[in-house]
């Protein structure tokens, strides 16, 4: 009988664990150590070796991007990057595409803020051959006129699609509100009007001025040893001549424009997009770590405050979040959400309330520690893939930060205090300096929005002009 009773009871003890078992001792993440070398022409070469998979990611990064687009010609950097691989002195666009893809490789080019990049992802056994295509595109592009015309038309069509989507259009408008006519103020991909003005000469000029070894960094991540990568760099880029004129100086960002509240009225919109923003920080700002921790609390990841309040508690959206985009100069800070048209004003109010809360009380440790863990986990996982390693290290190289800083990232984040988060948020994230953009069916939210923002400007979508800080089409010119 006693045995029987024990048998009955024992499984109950075994199965009924009502609280989560505690973790065991953590295993340390390995932060890979880069090797580097500078070629005699000034090209910096960085290699991070990891042999787990037979893959390599490689990037040639030029430290100039869309901030250098000439006035009224937004999109020059973007089209230069796109057309770069559409023809060289010895290969046509088709030959390049066929040659790269025969290797199972991808060759991607794009311009971003502060940089233009050419990326290769390839099996390690095909690295040498794939890099020949990358080097040819970087050094010998011819920018054929017919390819430019085709890519321009593609860009115009893509832009037309993006401008009918509330969330992408809201981002375009916010860019103008944050920077006005200053270098970061235009749409990175250009506007319908600016794209039409861009000539083959503009691309060749942008390439000549910026694609030069002393303004570039070549990065390798993955299944390649440093010596082999350095030899490949020397072979393909050793004879790349330095530029002849003096390097372009960094762009300057004007004083932030006055905050504005703008509604773009799109009567058929299936959902409204809300974006709020202000100028944020430079990547070199000593407050970089408090800034990203503050953002992690506010809007970084699923359980951040914005998603808690807007999605989890109220069911108003599929997601809400925020981010800093630190750049060479002061980059933007933005927060966004999408919601049905009827709740756009409520969602906007919730975002602003959370901005103010961050500066008005300390973040308790029970909240701060997990939000730091989010940043640390993302950082460590970003280094698990070949392309992730290259992306992470290239940011340090782009902003001239010591590569060894990557090893200090985790302890740096852990060291951020709630006091420094609050101080930072008070002066850099408060709602009083913020601009607001709502794109959607205005009649469904304009009245409640006006109650909070009597100064709201409403612009009908067809009247929107992204070319100027006023945002309005100047009727007189038509």
């Amino acid at each position: 009988m006693i045995v029987f009773a024990l048998l009955l009871v024992a499984p109950l003890f075994a199965q009924e664990q009502t609280t989560p078992p505690a973790p065991s001792a953590p295993h340390e993440a390995k932060i890979p150590k880069p090797s580097e070398k500078t070629l005699s022409n000034g090209l910096r070469v960085i290699v991070v070796t990891k042999h787990e998979m037979p893959l390599v990611a490689a990037r040639l990064m030029v430290k100039t991007g869309a901030e250098a687009d000439p006035a009224q010609k937004a999109g020059v950097a973007g089209l230069t990057a796109t057309v770069l691989k559409e023809g060289t002195k010895t290969r046509s666009a088709e030959q390049i595409a066929r040659g790269v893809e025969a290797l199972g490789a991808t060759l991607d080019t794009n311009a971003r803020w502060d940089a233009s990049v050419v990326d290769v992802n390839v099996m390690s056994k095909n690295l040498g051959k794939a890099m020949e295509f990358l080097a040819d595109a970087v050094r010998n592009p011819t920018f054929p006129k017919d390819e430019l015309d085709r890519e321009r038309q593609q860009a115009l069509d893509a832009l037309q699609v993006e401008m009918t989507e509330p969330r992408s259009l809201a981002g375009f408008v916010m860019t103008r509100l944050l920077y006005g006519d200053a270098p970061y103020g235009h749409n990175l991909g250009g506007t319908p009007q600016s794209l039409e003005k861009i000539t083959r000469d503009d691309l060749a000029k942008f390439h000549r001025a910026n694609f030069r070894p002393e303004n570039s960094v070549l990065l390798f991540g993955g299944d390649v040893n440093a010596d082999a990568a350095f030899a490949l760099a020397e072979k393909l880029f050793g004879a790349w001549p330095r530029g002849t004129s003096s390097a372009k100086t960094a762009s300057t960002v004007a004083k932030p424009p006055e905050p504005r509240v703008v509604v773009i009225d799109m009567p058929d919109a299936g959902q409204s997009a809300v974006v709020v923003g202000r100028q944020g920080i430079r990547r070199s700002d000593p407050a970089y770590l408090p800034a990203i921790v503050a953002n992690s609390v506010l809007g970084g990841g699923y359980s951040s405050r914005l998603n808690q309040e807007i999605r989890i508690k109220r069911g108003l959206s599929y997601g809400a979040g925020s981010s800093f985009a630190p750049r060479r100069e002061v980059g933007p800070f933005t927060a966004r959400t999408e919601t049905k048209n009827e709740s756009a004003a409520e969602a906007t109010g919730l975002v602003l309330d959370e901005l103010n809360r961050l500066g008005s009380s300390d973040v308790p440790d029970a909240e701060l520690t997990p939000r730091k863990a989010v940043l640390i986990g993302n950082f460590a996982r970003g280094l698990e893939t070949t392309s992730g390693v290259v992306e992470t290290i290239s940011t340090y190289a782009l902003y001239n930060l010591p590569l060894a800083d990557a090893e200090k990232f985790i302890s740096g984040v852990q060291g951020v205090t709630s006091a420094s988060v609050r101080t930072f948020a008070t002066s850099n994230m408060a709602a009083n300096g913020i601009s607001v953009v709502v794109v959607g069916d205005a009649k469904k939210f304009i009245e409640p929005l006006k109650q909070r923002f009597p100064n709201v400007e409403v612009i009908a979508a067809p009247e929107l002009d992204l070319n100027s800080a006023t945002l309005r089409v100047r009727k007189l010119k038509e």
Binding site: E94, A97, A102, G104, M123, R150, Q271, A373
Partner: protein, 443 residues
Amino acid sequence: MRFARSLFALLLLVAVSATAAAPFPTLDYKHRTLSNGLDVYTVQDRSTPTVAIQVIYRVGSKDDPEGRSGFAHLFEHMMFKSTKNMKAEMMDRLTEDVGGWNNATTYDDYTPYYEVVPSNYLETLLWAEADRMASLNVNEENFKSERDVVKEEFRFRILAPPYGRLFYAIDKNSFTTHPYRRPGIGSIEELDASTLDDVRRFHSTFYRPDNAVLLVVGDFDQQQADAWIDKYFAPVPRPSIEIPRVNVQEPARGEEKRVKVTAPNVPLPAVAMTWLAPPASNPDSYPLAVAESILGSGESSRLYARLVRGEIAVQVNAYADLRQDLGLFAVLAIMASGHDPAEAEKILREELKKLQETPPSEAELEKAKNLIITSALREREENNGRAEALSRAIVLQRDASQVNSGLGKLQAVTAADVQRVMKKYVGDAKAVVITYTNEGGQQ
């Protein structure tokens, strides 16, 4: 189609369509079945201090109750609410808060719940997954709020993007009988019709060990992990009622069907063409993957060359979307401005015909295979990607070993195989042609 709990983690994923194996790294999985029917697969890899856990339930949008399209997906969201031993959103506390992440995806045939955590939290997550398998304890308040979130997801994916309604229309018009025809994201009306009772019934019907697969991939000690799996999952009872299965045959198409779909804010018209294709477990899946690549992967693909380089379309896609019961082979083009869907349709038909009548060159076959293998390798750089590749083999191909043998089969595909499958599934069959234009005429 797939719909996930949230977009945050989804951005990390890379989509690929086939599998790789020797001479490349194989996935050395161990498989066993617990006495309650739970299938367990483990793959040890200690190169990073993280572990990926997936619990896959063999239930998906095709199992939506009648009049409740979108329900399996809504239910998936509810699995992050309270259980007997966990408060709502506690999964986030155990993953995100310790530097990991979680998500779930509702496919037509299955629903994986997955998380990646620092490996010292493996036991914690095994406990949590077993807990939500055993019980769900949701209330009216969090049901209604989460249903509102799913309605916002519907607006976000379908109503707001210019081409959302096109993707919504593809399955709906491509199947006549099989429940794949119903939209996995649902509709506002049918979501509103669902109740808390539906949620409870769905859990007790489908969420059970004999309808699930557990995958653990990454940094763990084999013996320790096995002991934890036994400790937390073995006590979950296997219900005695039978699991209902969709058993509907989609009939072959008798004739070609043309459908016109319009939507607001469509700046450029589009055309999609679909044909019925075999299930993912059919060996023809390999030549179909090669055909898909020859037609639509990369800037040297045939459709890109003719339509995009030819300045007729701005975007083209070709895909073999093979599911458990059957699939679709589809081609899609978004027109360049000033061009009409009829132009693209004519060229798409020409290219599909050419692939049936003329053998692709060895170089073109080799290119397609290299592209597929490289993207499969890239997927396997991370533990969760390895788990995804394995889960597709288990659930869709119904054979875990394909995760390793698939590459050999892909390498063996010949030009004649490609011609044969294109003729069988496209040439000798009937298309559904969907044209998609702006409501009230072109903008």
